[in-house]
């Protein structure tokens, strides 16, 4: 599970030795996120976002469990109990704003984490399973966030639930029974609110479990790095603790500062004012929008406006939206280039940035009203999104001429001459087999 030169856990205190014999949990932690996990020495700040996503999950679970202590999952009182939490419960406003904005920050860091993976080719062999489990976490996050947004039982909660469950209604024949089954009624009601609350409480712990699998799968090949060149020897790695605990600690500090700025100075900036109106099944808000983190997918959903070969436009939109995420499960096999890092792939890099701009455009259109020119722009952008993964990426992998890779991580960091110098200065290292010098 780790490199042979990983440091070994040797408890000194008798109590720790006693625990290690009975239940080697400290040993597990030491080998997972302690000095026992050797990590490439050249990780940049983009490698902070995994740990930051973990931190965001912890913030969500802590504030969420507290919110649940003051919440009543019943349509008669739900809206009122959330307002009461905000106004009457000691520090309740802080818990609610931290939970609502924490969801946004969770998505921000996860999107940056995915961005990192896409640019540096982290999804490629031998880390496909890490990527697949990450996508499972992403899907679970989306489900959890959607159900959480319904709980305050405001206008956006109600109509969001109606529109999203309505997506399932677009499926032929079984669609409407599925929608009724999901809601426990013919429209969002008390039964829907209760089950969403139950699942919203459960899913974060399922996410935590999949996170453990995600880290487990990561630790089998070890972390990737910005060069995409695999670790070749002890000189390429440093122990996770203290090197990356310190680096991640710094990242966590920056994250918390930005989080605090939004939380204390603009807590409603990312929210929607209509959700401070209690749900009313007889009146639709003029402009139904999901939370910002769903906008790119919402734009793809709405990009389909005409029927195609007897398939209704509504169903096409639903299929395209789900496909846009499921597509990512095939990414490790669509991008066949053996070079991982975008730093050494000049053509890939250009199209990568076009994709990022494309997704940002989709996001903008998803938040805009469904009118021209936004519909037309989303259609073009959605088409490009699929073309990138299904056509452009496989072609680039075939025809691109990558830049020369460094022989090793150490060479990339210190330069070839420095390595020669280092070897002379440290004769002990000279005897190590160093495949990096073979090339």
């Amino acid at each position: 599970m780790s490199f042979p030169w990983a440091e070994h856990y040797t408890p000194k205190h008798p109590a720790m030795q006693w625990i290690d014999e009975k239940l080697p949990l400290p040993r597990l932690v030491y080998n997972a996120v302690g000095a026992g996990y050797p990590v490439p020495r050249n990780l940049n700040y983009f490698w902070n976002f995994g740990v930051l996503a973990g931190l965001a999950l912890v913030i969500q679970i802590v504030t969420g469990v507290i919110m649940a202590m003051h919440y009543g999952a019943n349509t008669l009182v739900a809206f009122g109990t959330v307002e009461q939490t905000m106004r009457d419960v000691n520090a309740g406003w802080l818990m609610r704003y931290a939970h609502a904005n924490g969801a946004s920050f969770f998505f921000i860091v996860v999107y940056l984490h995915i961005f990192r993976g896409l640019f540096f080719g982290s999804y490629k062999a031998p880390r496909e399973m890490v990527w697949l489990l990450g996508l499972v976490i992403f899907l679970l996050m989306m489900a959890t966030a959607f159900m959480g947004y319904v709980l305050p039982w405001g206008q956006m909660s109600y109509w969001g639930a109606k529109v999203i469950t309505g997506l399932f209604g677009a499926i032929p024949v079984v669609g409407e029974p599925i929608q009724t089954w999901l809601l426990g009624g013919f429209a969002p009601g008390n039964a829907s609110l209760n089950r969403f609350f139950s699942l919203h409480f459960l899913l974060p712990f399922v996410i935590a479990a999949v996170v453990i699998l995600h880290i487990w799968a990561l630790h089998i090949p070890g972390s990737s790095n910005p060069t995409g060149v695999e670790v070749k020897g002890p000189q390429d790695t440093v122990p996770f603790h203290p090197y990356y605990t310190a680096k991640d600690g710094f990242g966590a500090g920056v994250f918390l500062i930005l989080f605090a700025v939004l939380l204390f100075y603009a807590p409603n900036y990312l929210g929607h004012p209509d959700n401070y109106i209690e749900a009313n099944p007889l009146s639709t808000p003029a402009h139904i929008v999901p939370e910002w983190y769903f906008w790119p997918f919402y734009a793809i959903l709405r990009a389909f406006t005409v029927d195609f070969f007897f398939v209704p436009a509504k169903l096409l939109g639903v299929l395209a939206m789900f496909a846009s995420i499921l597509l990512l499960f095939f990414l490790p096999w669509l991008d066949t280039s053996p070079v991982r890092s975008g730093n050494y792939r000049p053509t890939f890099r250009k199209f990568f940035w076009i994709l990022i701009v494309d997704v940002l455009i989709l996001g903008y259109c998803g938040g805009a009203p469904a009118a021209e020119p936004y519909v037309m722009i989303s259609q073009v952008a959605a088409a490009y999104y699929f073309a990138h993964f299904l056509i452009i990426l496989p072609l680039i992998s075939r025809f691109e001429k990558p830049l020369p890779l460094p022989n090793s991580i150490t060479e990339a960091v210190l330069g070839r001459h420095a390595i020669e110098g280092e070897r002379e200065a440290l004769p002990g290292m000279g005897s190590d087999p160093q495949p990096s010098h073979a090339g």
Binding site: K162, W181, G184, A191, P281, I288
Partner: protein, 193 residues
């Protein structure tokens, strides 16, 4: 499991009386036991899934009675049916004429006003107030609301316009406003559902 089967198979022909067809008593017991447990597991899943369907109290509200006596021609009311908005509209003669004037084959969802109303009671248009696009509540049932350019209903979400027979005429919605099953219990009352 694999080891046990391996050991068994060595002496099978003697101890189990497996015989020439190669089926041993242990294989039969194994398949039968696993199948029985499988049937049991499926039987348990049924209530676990079914509990999510609408409960009896939700279904009990599955029909709604509406009193029509106070609705004047040209007026409409908004009520609820299965916790969703229901529009009941008393059409004027002019509105009926407008709806009849349209050639149904030119429509996206071809239907005549007759097909959408009860025989002899053409002036009573009963529809769900749920836009067939993404489920918003269209405007037009309330006094002074925007009825769109076809004089029926107008959905503010994505601009679908419905005519005086609540048929889709313009915008993204694929279907006419749904007409629920209903019947007249008297001249001035209907039972929806």
């Amino acid at each position: 499991m694999a080891i046990v089967e391996h050991l068994e198979s060595e002496g099978a022909s003697v101890s189990d009386g497996g015989g020439s067809d190669g089926v041993r008593r242990r294989d039969f017991i194994n398949i039968a036991a696993v199948s029985f447990a499988g049937v049991g597991a499926v039987a348990v899943v049924i209530p676990l899934v079914d509990q999510m369907n609408p409960s009896a109290d939700v279904l009990a509200l599955a029909s709604t009675e509406v009193d029509l006596s106070s609705i004047q021609p040209g007026q409409a009311i908004k009520t609820t049916f299965r916790s969703q908005p229901l529009f009941v509209r008393h059409l004027t003669d002019k509105e009926i004429a407008e709806a009849d004037k349209v050639d149904p084959s030119s429509l996206r969802d071809p239907q005549t006003l007759e097909e959408r109303t009860v025989d002899g009671k053409k002036q009573w248009l009963v529809t769900m107030g749920v836009c067939t696009h993404l489920g918003c509540v269209p405007l037009g049932a309330g006094e002074g609301e925007n009825r769109g350019e076809y004089g029926g209903y107008f959905c503010p979400c994505h601009g679908s316009s419905y005519d005086t027979a609540a048929r889709i005429r313009k915008g993204p919605a694929p279907k006419n406003l749904e007409v629920p099953k209903f019947s007249f219990t008297s001249d001035t009352a209907i039972l929806v559902g």
